[in-house]
Symmetry: C2
Subunit: 334 residues, 2 copies
């Protein structure tokens, strides 16, 4: 009993004694083909462990079977791809796409001119694009989004912009963080993070809103860059210069991590002297010393939403931006 591998519909059609068309239809469960024929062909396909040529199919169907996931590395070139939050998001995206039989084409882009997205979209390598993080490329994205529907962005939904976004409510997240510190009776709050990043700007706005409502003095902002060294240096310097804050809201867990270190190096204790609230709840957040109280973004849900929206757009349907609610995760740092 020979069980040669059948590697094309033609092979299979020869084995079954029917035409290629019939085989194609049978495997696709097309009701046009008789049940008996269909079963026979499927059985044969199993026996000869037939795997359809995906490239040929996609070619014929004029699609690619892949979705591009792009990380624009705008202001913080080194940081992005290794950022645990983005990685977690990508992992979840890979899963969500795999569920639909699509592949994930990973691409990181350092925007050199404002044509990079257009070029990528027109390269025909993907059926849709997911951009992870708006970076400083909102306007570039907006331009392309105007004429290219299957494009989803992880980031902030900004009034007046039409790009389809999925993101957590950064304002609310910032508010939650500040409110938590305020509720502990802390009064000298500082926000660490670069407000030029749109996500961070929203978090900062929420932070300020909470402070305003509580009626304590306006908090300071330390416009730190996202890189590790920058965050550390910023906090370190701040602690030396200024009256010490009793609470820090960091724009990301990575920044918080470095704030923890700067505070420790300055001889202060967390959370006794200074409380720290992070943002993202990346997997190392519970492993820091002390473990980080932080604002959790649900990246599994986020990834699913993005993929959902993307396929709706690919199918030509309407879809609206989604905002996910962040939650406060209590650990030891605040």
């Amino acid at each position: 009993m020979k069980r040669q591998k059948a590697s094309s519909l033609a092979d299979l059609s020869a084995l079954a004694g029917v035409s290629i068309s019939t085989v194609s239809r049978a495997l696709a469960d097309n009701p046009l083909v008789a049940v008996a024929t269909r079963d026979k062909i499927k059985q044969l396909a199993r026996e000869h462990d037939f795997q359809i040529n995906v490239a040929a199919r996609n070619f014929r169907l004029q699609r690619t079977g892949a979705v591009g996931v792009i990380l624009p590395l705008g202001h913080e070139t080194e940081q992005h791809l290794t950022d645990p939050f983005f990685m977690s998001l990508i992992a979840s995206l890979a899963d969500a796409l795999a569920d639909r039989g699509y592949d994930l084409l990973l691409s990181r882009v350092i925007p050199s001119n404002d044509q990079w997205l257009k070029a990528f979209v027109e390269s025909g390598k993907v059926d849709g694009v997911i951009i992870v993080g708006q970076s400083d490329q909102i306007d570039v994205i907006e331009t392309v989004a105007a004429s290219y529907a299957p494009l989803i962005v992880w980031g902030a939904s900004i009034p007046g912009y039409r790009q389809l976004t999925v993101g957590s409510d950064n304002f609310e997240g910032g508010r939650l963080a500040a409110q938590h510190l305020l509720s502990q009776g802390r009064k000298r709050l500082t926000f660490v993070g670069n407000p030029a990043v749109p996500e961070f700007a929203a978090r900062f706005a929420g932070f300020n809103a909470a402070i305003a409502q509580a009626g304590v003095p306006q908090g300071a902002v330390l416009p730190s860059h996202v890189t590790a060294e920058a965050a550390y240096a910023t906090v370190r310097t701040y602690l030396k210069e200024d009256a010490a804050p009793d609470g820090i809201v960091a724009a990301s867990d990575v920044i918080a991590l470095n704030a923890l270190r700067a505070i420790a190096d300055h001889g202060l204790r967390v959370p006794d002297d200074v409380a720290v609230v992070g943002y993202d709840d990346v997997f190392i957040a519970e492993q820091t010393t002390p473990p980080l109280t932080t604002i959790r973004q649900n990246f599994v849900l986020g990834a699913q939403m993005m993929v959902d929206l993307l396929f709706r757009r690919i199918a030509g349907e309407e879809a609206a931006s989604v905002s996910l609610q962040p939650t406060l995760v209590l650990r030891a740092s605040a």
Copy 2:
């Protein structure tokens, strides 16, 4: 002056008044076509910003233009994809592949049976496969590697196995770590990590070799799992039970991170009471409190080597496994 987008060789051939074949050859710099013709066609292609249909080309050439990057999630299901080391490696792989015009197809696999790799390879979706981490799937990999050449593995090169590997010299890394602690006069060393993971086993062996050579008592091993909680709990328990070690070599930075926390929670100081050496030098290693002394694996070089070897294999050439030398990075923890 109309500048419609030309979307196929046919479009372009109509514009240039030559045949499709000539256009194809011209764009490929085939010397068969006259220089003047070639220049004209190339100019036209630029003007109408022609992008060749990659799918069609790959289909015709019977290749996919993609390389699969697989993360087998054997013993440590949750840990892998978010592990900063793997992510860094993947990022570098994406770059190295992009340089060669290849795409990266990300796939994470939870091995349910021993057919997963065979199925993936035979799916025809990729021209080659890079497996990141052997996990507990060495034998599965070995079976497929016997008949499928374009397969490269990040991991340990084990005598008797023929799979083509790129990896850092884990034995040497473990030795370096232990030696560093011994050179500080520390005498009670402990290794934290699960030796069932092949990479970790080699690191442990190097660790033991250094101890044997120094003539101090044999170090203890704490076969911790890689997950955060497990590592923390293991070290915490150990510190309570036993005479405290004065040096810990962790099998990874993530483990080291948790060791730091366990030590701090136990009321001991790093490095004064217990020194800690990590492994990998992931990006958070310099951001912990205190920053980690660790063994660096050069993932950029590693990724390039893997891609190099892969393309040699795809081209049908011979290639041999590569072992990279790890280096000790001195920071504050040891």
